[in-house]
Symmetry: C2
Subunit: 229 residues, 2 copies
Amino acid sequence: MTISLYDLCGADRSLRFSPYCWRARMALAPKGLAVETVATAFTEIAAVEDGGCKSVPVLNDNGHIVRDSFDIAVYLDEAYPEKPLFGDDGVVAAARLIESWSNTTVHPILSRMMIKDIHDLLVPADQGYFRESREKRFGKTLEEAQTGLEANAEALARALTPARHALGHFDWLGGAGPLYTDYILFGSLNWLVAITGRLPLPEDDAVAAWFERCLDLHDGLARQAKRAT
Amino acid sequence: MTISLYDLCGADRSLRFSPYCWRARMALAPKGLAVETVATAFTEIAAVEDGGCKSVPVLNDNGHIVRDSFDIAVYLDEAYPEKPLFGDDGVVAAARLIESWSNTTVHPILSRMMIKDIHDLLVPADQGYFRESREKRFGKTLEEAQTGLEANAEALARALTPARHALGHFDWLGGAGPLYTDYILFGSLNWLVAITGRLPLPEDDAVAAWFERCLDLHDGLARQAKRAT
C-alpha cells in the first residue's frame, strides 16, 4: 500500500516544476508518509487514474483519489492530523485567500519571466498543447509574453510586499513554524527556481531569506530537486 | 474606568471613515466591552494621550495605550481571550499578509475613487495637511488623483479576487465565523462606504454579500454609522 502523487514533469522527467505540485509535495513531506511521485507530462494527465483529471497534482492514497493541491492539503490534515498544515479553520480560510493572491498576483509576473523557457523544457508532445493554451490565455505569442527575469524583478519584489510584511513579524507565513500558507507561496516561487535556477530578489529581502529556509525544510527536499539551469 | 478609542473624524465629527479605525472598532465589538470613541481630526492626533501618536486608532484601556489597528487586535486577544479575533498563531501571521494585501492592493484603488471627496469632508484645519501629504504621495493633485467610483469599479472587483475565492469556500474570511481577517478587508471597504455611501460591486458578487453580512455584525454597528452621502 503506497501513496502516489502525480507530478508534472518536463522532457527531462526528473524536472518537476509545477507550483501546484510543489505545494502538494511540501504538504506531504511533514506527514512522514512514504510517497512515490509519478512523473506526468501535460499530455499524460488525461490518462491518470480514472481518466477524469484535467490537472495535476493528483493524490492516490491507497485508492482514495484527491485532485487539486489545496484539497490535497485539506485531505492530509483530515487523514493524518499529526503535524497539521492548517491547525485551525481560520487558517484554512485565510490560506484560500492567500492561494488566490499568489495565483492571480504573483503567477502572472512569474509567467512573464519564463513562459517560453517552460515551453522549451517540455516533452515535444506537450509543446503544442502548451503553446496553444497559453497563447490563447495571454493573447500573444510565448515569445512576446516572455519579457524576462530582470525586466520583471521589480514587479515581483513589489508583488511580494504582503509576504514581506508578514515576515517582518514572523519567521514563517504560518507564524512560529511553516504551515500550508508557506507552501502556497513557496510552490509559486519554486516554479521559477526550478525553471530558471534562481529567485531574482535582493539578498537582504526577507522573502529571499524565508525562501532559503523553505528550501532547507524536510531534509532539503526542494533544495535537492532537479533544476533546469 | 473606561476604554477609549481615538477615531478619525471629518468636519462632521460623527463621520468616522478611517479604514484602520473601523478595523479597531469591529475588533472591539465582539469583546463586549464598554468603549467610548473619541472623535479625532488629523490635526488633533498629535495631542492624543501622551503626545507621541502619529496616527489613529489609538486605544486607551484604563491607562494602557496601544497604537496601530493590528496591534490593538493582538492586544485585545491577549487581554480579553473570550471570542478570539485570531484564535491561532497561524491566523495572526496570515492576517499580517492579508493586512498588507488590502493596504497595498485595495487601498490605492479606493483612493482613486474618493481622495478628493475625503479632503472635502475634512475640517478646514485638516485640509492643508491632507492635500500636501497625499499630493506628495501620489505625485499629482487630489483633483487629478481622483478618477471616480465608476472608472475604478472594475479594478476594485478584480483586486478583490482573492477574497471572492475564499468566500467561495467559507461564509467568512475567518472561516465559519468572522475573525480579524474579516475586519481588515471590511475596514478597507467601509472607508469607501462611509465617504461615498456605496460599494460599487455587482449585487451577485460574493464580496458584496459578505460585506452586507459584516454590516449586520454586532447589532449593526457599521450599518448604523454616519455616512457622508
